[in-house]
Point group: D2
Chain length 244, copies 4
């Protein structure tokens, strides 16, 4: 899952995707609208290289006060983001979530409060990731990578009936540079960005895939004899103005 | 999620679905093909009544020796049943699964071996259900209802790369009568039925919904002020021959 | 395509669908959300019987003045109802449509004007149908059955950029009773009912299938040796109050 | 509809898509799997530029003798390609088609015979296109552009129950160079390429979009004040080996 799509928030102006050695690939659209590629990697050294020029906003929309959407008014396509999922056991977090948002007005502000609480309560440890942790595990261990913090934010928000989804992609200026993950919440009739791993919510984001959690949007799922991961190199650069 | 659909294995000849008091309802098809209904229940006593005359086989197809489908040959629509899900943490079961199926030929026989192992190792406790348990929990506690046993079968099978899905429905002759749950595995190019809560795999099954696990196919998801569940009555009767 | 679905405008409370002799059937959902059934009919006499108790409104919503939705604001799912289709050659009707709606305010009123124009200009000849006629043919011959009139309404409306779709179903009190067809236009953010075969727009409608035109929503598509149609019997009765 | 997708028959290794001046665009997947882009073009001069490096076969698969797939064995997703559509009135061609394929074995050879018959009977007039013609019109006028010839091939094939679809894309070496259109037929369990505008079926094809006919896969649908088309420039070049 490495090919970004043009959408409301970003436009893919140029893109490249090459495999060395070259092998047959099939591409599909999953149930979340992500493009994914299926291939049988050859034995031996194998390289995947992708790059894209993408136009995206340099500030993120915020909407303090955006209203809570009552369940009966949620669009059909949003409903599956309310349910518990592999790494977001929202069915086990009701008490904690209600405690965190106590006194907060319904909707955007509740998710903002949850995101702040995670930033204060869970240590962000970039680079420490092996397997994805579930929200219950992240909460128990009080530390995690960006994806783990997002999982906790998702589980807490869903447990108070706010639809939330994981976004995997890139963030300009991230230190150290790596793939990044954050989450979006559906309030006020739109999806808004939250990122509990950051002190300030910055723009310059490129979404590659959306899903309920990391089980849906792994960069790759690998089956068969184990692949030995030799290196991954991630770069995000600012281009000059719109592509010509 | 209470309206069964006609499919390859069953034909819905008559059906009724009534609400008392009557309220507006919308019906949708989810990503797994299930029909589900959305409604706002009124305050006070509320009754849902459904019934169906369904033609279904009185024996279940078995296929000992059916081959393992290599990942690259799986149909696109089957892939999501390979991934870990809320109650089936297949990413945590690789060692146990490989141990159970050691020496078994790839495919149907592996799932059969897993189903037998669950029947021997986990105590089936009908009626004890409150919340769904995840496969990790079921394995730790060594007991569960039909749905919990199915979750464990699903997680173990997926961890050895066999697609599996949960089926919720009814089984003729089940004692005590209740909703039932079992699982299907995709081997030999088809979905086959497994039921670790039964000594013998019986026919007379009516599938109401399919999903990755109980998070997808709950009979109902309820939001808002808690509903007090006053009673549920389930009956399955054998009709005389095809409906006239 | 004979199994109605519950939707925003109707609720299927009871339903029956039987085949004599009984044969295996598979059921699918098409791209418009309709349920359809595939079967191989046996040689000899073959009967299909369906019935349903459906709750539906006894008046149809009208919305004079409802606004024209600009193309860029149409939901993605509505776009395909703007394009020309088999029996609705909207790419050949621009001049006529602009002439008919001249001076009318954009949106609902334009479609109302088109529907009135058809009622005045094309003779409604119930029962005369053999094959579906296309809008160009209906306009040339100035007569047709309900479906043909609806095709013309659809083609004219699309040619002025208003999304329209064909509805096949039943109408309480239709004389002579038969299957019926009408059309819906997307204006003011909703689908509204228009029926150029009627002087007054009556309620008591049961929709069985939606599509761009009759090519999408034939009651049946038959392939292979020709079936000889021996008889079709259609009845619509008013039931007493909500089903118990 | 200008962004090709990677699929079984082609791999998009590099791609660019730019608009001058730059405007917001949204991208969607239609019901046929094509990517399409929605945008509001500004008043004044507006340019769309796309390019792609695509790996595709230099010969086209042929399969003389490939069997006719009986309707009951057609995959669900293929069924809509059997029905008549806007420019392919297959419901009006039964007699002609049966006459053309008389004595030919069922399946691939029938479509081959139809394609040959069109090449012999309809004059290919590249560059003469204004609006798409329907198969009935093409047959009546006995001339047309590549797309018109493909429409006739589609209508004739569907009328003998063989699913067919239009492909819009590029063909290496086409003289004069332009967008190209051909059709595919579903026989022997696969989609095979036919091109009645060519004497010999050449490879070097890049598919941009699939649909039932040109109504589904127009390069652009334009609404609102008419755009004056100032120029279109199409180039297809052979690259050296797989991209590095």
């Amino acid at each position: 899952m490495l090919r970004p799509r043009s959408g409301i928030q970003q436009w893919v102006a140029r893109e490249a995707y090459t495999l060395s050695p070259s092998v047959p690939v099939e591409e599909y659209t999953d149930i979340f609208g992500n493009l994914y590629q299926r291939l049988v990697a050859p034995a031996g050294w194998f390289q995947v290289h992708t790059s894209a020029d993408v136009m995206t906003a340099d500030v993120v929309d915020k909407a303090p006060g955006a209203y809570f959407v009552e369940i009966q008014h949620l669009p059909d396509a949003v409903l599956s983001y309310l349910l518990p999922s592999r790494y977001c056991e929202s069915d086990r977090f009701g008490n904690l979530a209600r405690d965190i948002v106590d006194g907060t007005s319904l909707g955007y502000d509740q998710v903002g409060r949850i995101s702040d609480w995670i930033r204060d309560s869970v240590r962000y440890t970039p680079g420490s990731s092996v397997l994805p942790l579930s929200a219950v595990e992240v909460n128990g261990w009080s530390q995690g990578v960006c994806r783990d913090l997002a999982h906790l934010g998702i589980a807490l928000s869903r447990s108070i009936s706010i639809p939330t989804r994981l976004v995997v992609g890139f963030l300009y200026g991230l230190e150290p540079m790596d793939l990044h993950a954050w989450f979006e919440a559906y309030v006020g009739g739109l999806w808004y960005t939250f990122d509990p791993s950051e002190d300030t919510l910055r723009g310059g984001r490129l979404a590659v895939a959306y899903g309920r959690d990391a089980a849906d949007v792994a960069v790759y799922h690998q089956f068969g004899p184990p692949a030995i991961f030799s290196s991954m190199d991630v770069r995000v650069e600012l281009l000059d103005g719109p592509p010509g």
